[in-house]
Symmetry: C2
DNA sequence: TATATTTGAGTGATTTTCACTCAAATATAA
DNA sequence: TTATATTTGAGTGAAAATCACTCAAATATA
């Protein structure tokens, strides 16, 4: 059985005193592994209760600042897009089952009391480049891993629902928010870009029309070299022209008049 | 000076004990008066502090149920679309200035303490038919009125910001949520419908193209009569074909591939 | 009765969407 | 070495949507 870090636990207990009670923040950190979208899962306790990362809001901290701090604690980065996607507050939302995972450990009563209450959570999503690592940001997290968004139904609480709602907003942000900057590596091919779009949209797209549309937008810069070690014809490598990409983003809705 | 209702105040004081502290709900109730969009304003105290309506969440109440209860308290209706548009939580969000408006009244200390803390608020918007009245739902509300969305900068706290954010989401929901059902009276003309769209979008639209687009969608049923008492050529009256309208709604985004 | 104004209806150029074909490049198999 | 299968790059054209227009109809007002 894993042993809880006494110092970290004392710090957590102390921090909890300064947080707003019954409100949490949860993060859905999307990344693209080349085939599918993934989000981080953290193991709460040692039983098998995987959740998405989260934290609380200090009494003297702005809401978005808290989300950004928690993001930094989780992946060490703070320069990413961070967008609220919803607030979830059914009366059944509490960590009762997760606290059960610590019956073999010495958890202070003050911590048990804190986590036994009903929580309303505010969800933020962000997009991380594939190389970022998840950190064990809390003494209560015993492990971390990346979870495919198609397999989130194994997550505890309502976290599968959180991921699904975040994914819906991610889709609707495709034309208006600079998602590609965080999703894409420095160089990539158009077939790889297409796979990213298909992962976000959850459907296949027409290959020819996708390529044509992407090239017409003038947001891709040809690198003049092709990708090595491919199956058949080597695809051309591109980089994202960030200036043109940012200019291409729009909130406009086509209404037909 | 207005007198506070003692009984209502005692009930409020009692209710506050059962609510989740430091979390509020605010409602942006849009209506269309034929020319512009309006939202309800409620006067907190007797000084001149107008806010949008709101309330709190009972410990044993789901988040959305609380929003729907508050909506019912405010306009007596519960069958309307209700959609979360954001959560707002700067550290400066508190009712300090509004509580000052009660210095000439006997407010229990427990109530003053409650309202003196920092609040995180969850915003919901809804759409009300023009005939609905705003009710004085709280003993702390001394008056109510409709405020044009262009004049919300006079509202207290960050409520002008809340209305603006709600309006942005309202716009983006134009093709996917059944807004017209709640906005429109039983019968209306196409020029009136166009004014509604212009009020929501905050811009003018081409008259011919708007008419053409609306008629092509098959969601309008001609009533065979024309509107009386008009300036020049009498416009034709229509009703909304709700079945076809609901079928026409879509979450799809045109991506070009 | 003439005029101004608003509504209803339509036209056509341009752009976008979308299903499709064909050629080029290369790994793999014969 | 040569043939084949597979993937990528490029293009075509029909259909639909967008968008800036014109013109006729209806009626209040002059």
């Amino acid at each position: 059985m894993a042993q809880l870090n006494e110092d970290a636990l004392r710090k957590l207990d102390n921090d909890l005193q300064g947080y707003i009670p019954q409100i949490s923040i949860n993060l859905v950190i999307f990344r693209f592994n080349g085939e599918a979208l993934e989000v981080p899962g953290v193991l709460v306790g040692d039983k098998n209760s995987w959740t998405i990362p989260g934290g609380f809001i200090d009494q003297s901290e702005n809401l978005e600042d808290a989300a950004r701090r928690i993001l930094k604690e989780q992946i060490g980065s703070e320069k990413l897009l961070l967008k609220q996607f919803g607030c979830f507050g059914n009366t059944s939302r509490n960590f009762g089952a997760e606290i059960e995972n610590f019956t073999n450990h010495q958890l202070p009563n003050s911590i048990i009391d804190w986590f036994s209450r009903r929580f309303i959570t505010i969800g933020y999503y962000t997009v991380a480049p594939p190389e970022l690592k998840i950190l064990n940001a809390s003494p209560l997290f015993f492990s971390t891993k990346w979870v495919c968004v198609k397999d989130t139904n194994t997550l505890a609480l309502d976290h599968a629902n959180l991921v699904n709602e975040a994914l819906k907003i991610l889709r609707s942000d495709l034309l208006s928010k600079p998602l590609l900057i965080d999703f894409l590596p420095d160089s990539f091919t158009i077939p790889e870009l297409q796979k990213l779009y298909e992962a976000i949209l959850g459907r296949t797209v027409d290959r020819g029309n996708f390529r044509q549309r992407m090239l017409k937008q003038n947001i891709l810069t040809k690198l003049g070299v092709t990708k090595k070690k491919t199956s058949r014809r080597p695809p051309i490598l591109y980089t994202l022209n960030k200036q043109e990409y940012l200019k291409s983003l729009t909130e406009d809705i086509k209404l037909g008049f």
